[in-house]
């Protein structure tokens, strides 16, 4: 059966309502225009609206299917007050042609109730949501439909009447959830909202009288908003590892960019420089009117100290950390690394990659005595024409890349087997055994060759070149 999913204001005036059978609605209003409901598209539109609202406050939570919460604590003063902020929000929504209702209250519950059942645009004074909620119906408490219908059936038509009831019998009769909702609306109980972005108190915002779009302006506002945020970090002795800037365009789209630092930092010039090459990718469209910047992974860092004993630390902060940041942000984090030991006998597994300024690993360092090549091929290359006197002997001659090398001196074998203790005992076998030889040809070239597998009478052993010593 087809039912109405949503109705416009005009349709509501004609007496249509949500949940009505589509055939009944068409019988009442023959010229009714209907469209197929698209809940996924609605959810996407709500997400887009949530992202757009970040210009007002970093803490935005979607309230599916048709609402959103904006935590305006500590940001309304940027507009000069709650009323000014709300009228700015309303005028911008109206400009975009969205039908809406809005309210501001101390608690999400009260705001939810006022926006749906109260007067549009209500601003509850601090601590004064009680009298405003009292005349509203129980449905305003965000209860299950059965619950509020039952409350109304018992003659409790207003929230004010519920507030006067003794709590314990009410809780027993209608469930703990109803009591929680009442307490949340009145501010007696805290409510956690799931914000779209992790709420961060490290937030800075710049709004412009005229939209900007020139590249040099974008670079300047990046520096300005970074300076604003970093001044706060500096004042509270904190530094952040990740910064995110968001350009809010005139047409409601938000363009985010992010950078990472290897050490927590708060130098606005450095941060702006790291953003600079990425600004080209931002399409300002008809102009950018608001820029926000947030800091993530914030940690307490002591200010810069001149310490005489640690020259290395000073150099790190001045030069190396910015260099690593520049390279990592330009080339990508997988292209800048420091090789660290990994406890493994297999040559290609014994080298790990760590972030250049990370603390040293606990793993046992590589041995200095076992010769390892300067160049290690990621995939061993096959060698042909190998002549060895006996199966256990190093080769006396081999061909690699079309060139024949006569072996003058050789060392080995160094047997490296599979790390059987890492897998199931049944899977262990002798097929993954390599006998490595270090050989030197007549010209002095030093090679790292291995023969794979154990010697078998009927099979010719396979030889590989795994690295070059130089």
């Amino acid at each position: 059966m087809r039912r109405l999913y949503a109705v416009s204001a005009e349709a509501a005036q004609l007496g249509l309502h949500v949940g009505q059978k589509a055939t009944d609605a068409l019988a009442l209003v023959p010229e009714l225009v209907t469209a197929e409901a698209e809940p996924e598209a609605d959810a996407q539109a709500l997400t887009a609206l949530v992202d757009w609202c970040v210009r007002f406050s970093p803490a935005v939570a979607a309230d599916a299917p048709d609402g959103l919460f904006l935590d305006v604590t500590g940001v309304s003063h940027l507009w000069g007050g709650e009323w000014e902020m709300l009228s700015d929000l309303r005028s911008r929504l109206a400009m975009n042609g969205l039908p809406f209702r809005s309210a501001i209250a101390d608690t999400p519950g009260a705001a939810w109730a006022l926006v749906r059942f109260g007067e549009d645009g209500t601003i509850a004074p601090p601590g004064g949501q009680g009298p405003l909620l009292a005349p509203l119906p129980p449905a305003a408490l965000r209860l299950e439909t059965e619950t509020w219908a039952q409350i109304e059936r018992l003659g409790l038509g207003r929230i004010g009447q519920i507030m006067d009831l003794p709590r314990a019998p009410f809780g027993r009769r209608f469930g703990q959830a109803a009591l929680t909702r009442l307490d949340q609306a009145l501010g007696r109980e805290k409510e956690a909202l799931s914000f779209r972005r992790p709420p961060t108190p490290w937030f800075a915002r710049l709004a412009f009288a005229e939209p900007i779009s020139a590249p040099e302006d974008m670079a300047r506002v990046t520096a300005d908003v970074a300076a604003k945020l970093c001044a706060r970090l500096e004042a509270e002795s904190h530094g952040a590892r990740r910064f995110e800037i968001c350009f809010h365009r005139l047409d409601g789209k938000a363009m985010p960019l992010g950078i990472g630092l290897s050490l927590p930092g708060r130098d606005p010039v450095r941060i702006a420089k790291l953003f600079a090459p990425k600004l080209e990718t931002v399409d300002p469209g008809f102009g950018v009117e608001v820029v926000t910047m947030t800091a993530h992974a914030v940690e307490a860092t002591s200010g810069r100290q001149v310490r005489l004993d640690t020259v290395r630390d000073a150099a790190l902060e001045d030069g190396l950390a910015p260099l690593v940041d520049r390279l990592t942000n330009r080339l990508g984090p997988e292209r800048v690394w420091r090789s660290v030991p990994v406890e493994s006998h297999v040559p290609e597994l014994s080298v790990g990659r760590a972030r250049p300024l990370a603390a040293p690993t606990e793993a046992r360092p590589w041995s200095r005595e076992t010769p390892r090549p300067t160049r290690l091929f990621r995939r061993p290359e096959p060698v042909e024409g190998v002549i060895a006197l006996t199966p256990d002997d190093p080769p006396t001659q081999f061909r690699w890349r079309g060139q024949v090398h006569r072996v003058r001196r050789a060392e080995g074998p160094e047997r490296i087997g599979e790390e059987w203790w890492k897998g199931e005992i049944g899977d262990a076998s002798t097929t993954h055994i390599r006998d490595y030889y270090r050989v030197e040809d007549a010209e002095g070239g030093r090679f790292w060759l291995f023969r794979s597998g154990l010697y078998e009478a009927d099979a010719t052993p396979k030889w590989w070149l795994h690295g070059l010593f130089g």
């Binding site: 030069g319 160049r375 001196r409």
Partner: protein, 263 residues
């Protein structure tokens, strides 16, 4: 008269030296510790605060194994003063191998660049950074402008650059660039090792290095041996390369007159 001439000559030499260095302070040298080779280099050692070019003949143009090992050995004393940045195009440098030669991998930051221009710009950036003592880069060719830019970056913080000429595998040979701003140019290849008498296997790695070009110095050709390769004991601050023999400019005969018996 002779005093007068000597004085004028000295003044002229100082003038020429000032022109050559462009008026900047001398940033020191890294001596090899052997007068045979230090005498060929200006100031008695490998000039710091400049950049050096290292190439290899034949297959080494593609693999660059011997040039990489030799460069790591040249840069090993510098690693005690600060970080080393190694800019690669192919990521096949093996840190345990460098440790075996005596280069500390814990002071090495590896960067894999996507193309030639990026490798050069990363080198330039790293050279101008505080706390970086040496930058090693693997590029195919460097033209005069890029070389000059590298030189200016070296002068900023007196860091030393090493440029290993390496062609990508299977790539076409590029036209040789005309001039070069490098302080020295070396051509390095592996040389047969000599194990101590009565021992089997390979001896300490040896390199034959030809100094093809040297600003303010002389060219030459030498045979080096690595001191304390694959050795458990850490060396002190001496240069890891030991001069074995001075070679003439002529082509090497296969048998080296190293163990000449007294006739």
């Amino acid at each position: 008269m002779s005093d007068f001439r000597a004085g004028r000559l000295a003044a002229m030499r100082a003038k020429i030296a000032a022109i050559e260095t462009g008026g900047r302070a001398d940033s020191g040298v890294l001596p090899f510790g052997d007068p045979c080779i230090d005498g060929c280099l200006p100031g008695g050692g490998l000039p710091l605060g400049r950049w050096h070019e290292i190439t290899g003949p034949g297959m080494e143009v593609e693999t660059a194994a011997a040039p990489a090992a030799f460069t790591a050995l040249l840069a090993a004393p510098l690693a005690l003063r600060g970080e080393t940045v190694w800019v690669l195009r192919r990521d096949d440098l093996n840190a345990p191998g460098l440790l075996g030669l005596g280069f500390p991998p814990e002071r090495l930051i590896q960067v894999c660049a996507r193309d030639e221009a990026e490798a050069l710009s990363v080198m330039e950036d790293a050279l101008a950074t505080v706390g970086v003592a040496a930058v090693i880069g693997e590029v195919e060719a460097v033209d005069l402008t890029a070389g000059r830019r590298l030189q200016l970056a070296c002068e900023k913080r007196q860091a030393t650059g090493f440029l290993i000429r390496r062609r990508p595998f299977g790539g076409q040979a590029r036209r040789e660039a005309g001039g070069s701003a490098a302080a020295t140019r070396w051509s390095v290849t592996s040389a047969p090792s000599e194990p101590p008498p009565g021992e089997f296997g390979l001896g300490a790695p040896r390199f034959e290095a030809r100094l093809e070009r040297c600003r303010g110095g002389r060219t030459g050709q030498w045979l080096f041996e690595v001191k304390g390769a694959y050795d458990l004991e850490q060396r002190d601050g001496t240069h890891p390369l030991r001069l074995v023999a001075e070679l003439g400019d002529r082509q090497l005969a296969p048998a080296l007159p190293l163990h000449r018996t007294a006739a």
